[in-house]
């Protein structure tokens, strides 16, 4: 244990308003900590820079899942276990349920929160590809009120996001209109559990009359942050799926993806595997033929 507990302040006001007031009063001074599965690792490694922490754990206003007719709203404090246990998510947002089941292990899923996963902003974040292809919206809260931004605009750089210093990630809104579309999600890690993603690809798609009417591709570890593969989507839209169009989509992905070499894997491997996963998805899509 290389961190010094005495060198950090941790308070737990216990309700959302108090947290927001604190963030407003001393912007950029307080670091929210939810389940701690990232922050406590840094603490143990002696690398926790944040001196003042405010606990979000146990704030029920943040830990909820509300299902409405056209959307599901997930509080930032919902754990991945909460996500897995929710029947609506399992049926209507299956990629998110899958992603939740692939996070770490049971003990991590009990504590890691959706908000924490997004704010931590790793390019390998497990929930991100699914959120991208489901057109998720992020709701941010502050003493000044609430605002929403598309999740695809949330990450602005490597471990940087669009939040203002006095804001807290409050909830994620997910429209349910993708429930009928074709789905795909695959994570490639170092092993089957407890694995940081080397690359992950999520997809939703709708074909009509053999043509691609809608397609969304979300990837982890192909860029400094999780991103939609917009160029690759453009290469597919309006096209019939055949060997040639799949080839063109792969060529677009080849150009668009910019993965790096790091301690876990190589950029070349990540890019090639992403292409293979895309091919796997599109081939299955083409074979299965028509329809949503």
């Amino acid at each position: 244990m290389r961190g010094n507990p005495d060198a950090h302040e941790l308070i737990a006001p216990g309700n959302l308003d108090s947290v927001l007031e604190l963030l407003a009063k001393e912007p950029s001074e307080w670091t929210p900590i939810a389940g701690g599965t990232e922050i406590m690792v840094a603490h143990a490694a002696g690398r926790l820079g944040a001196k003042k922490l405010v606990s979000l754990w146990g704030i029920d206003e943040l830990r909820f899942i509300k299902e409405k007719e056209a959307s599901i709203t997930i509080g930032a404090g919902a754990t991945f276990r909460d996500l897995r246990a929710h029947p609506g998510i399992g049926v209507k947002l299956p990629l998110l349920a899958m992603a939740a089941s692939w996070i770490g292990c049971i003990a991590n899923q009990s504590r890691a929160t959706l908000g924490g996963n997004l704010v931590n902003g790793s390019p390998a974040a497990d929930s991100s590809p699914a959120l991208l292809v489901y057109d998720a919206e992020i709701e941010l809260a502050s003493v000044r009120g609430r605002r929403r931004i598309p999740y695809s605009a949330f990450h602005t750089g490597y471990k940087r996001n669009a939040m203002l210093p006095d804001e807290l990630l409050f909830a994620v809104h997910l429209p349910l209109r993708f429930a009928e579309q074709r789905h795909y999600l695959r994570k490639v890690g170092t092993r089957r559990a407890m694995a940081i993603s080397k690359v992950a690809l999520a997809a939703t798609a709708w074909l009509e009359d053999g043509l691609v009417r809608e397609v969304r591709l979300g990837a982890a570890s192909l860029a400094p942050f999780p991103m939609r593969l917009v160029e690759t989507e453009v290469a597919l839209l309006g096209r019939a799926l055949n060997a040639e169009s799949i080839q063109l989509a792969c060529a677009a992905l080849q150009k668009e993806a910019k993965p790096i070499d790091d301690i876990r894997s190589t950029g070349a491997y990540r890019k090639r595997v992403a292409i293979n996963l895309l091919t796997e998805f599109l081939t299955a899509l083409a074979t299965e033929g028509q329809g949503r």
């Binding site: 244990m1 005495d6 292990c105 009990s110 504590r111």
Partner: protein, 168 residues
Amino acid sequence: MSTFPAIRFNVNGEDREVRVAPMKRLLDVLREDLGLTGSKEGCGEGECGSCSVRMNGELVNSCLVPVLQAEGASVQTVEGLAAAGKMHPLQEAFLQCGGAQCGICTPGMLMAATQLLSVNAHPTMTEIREGLAGNLCRCTGFTRIFESVIAATAENREERIEEPAHAR
């Protein structure tokens, strides 16, 4: 230091109170302040699970829980498994089946298995593997740990747990 406010939680059925830095890890509080050395530190990163305890009915890595967040919680450690001088059926099964070799992963493994059986009394082999995937064992290759968990549920089930071929 007694200048810290009290943090109160229940451990193995007993109410406890500590006055320590709120960012002290629950693992260290259990081991150093409460004398419960059963939970172990294997990695400090939430990767090995040897610090696993149950908190409010959920499995957590206690090396990743700041003790302040355990305020008001009900915590169960390996020391709380046996009762009235009798080992828990899982402990008995591990003993009979060879589920413990060096024993360092065992407390955390028992907590993970307890958690698994608390939510799923008749897990399939796939579910057992998933339930224990966050607990690393370097000695057993997991084989006899799986057998121990199965044995602990054996009196409740008729069918053998088959390893699904190619399904994993």
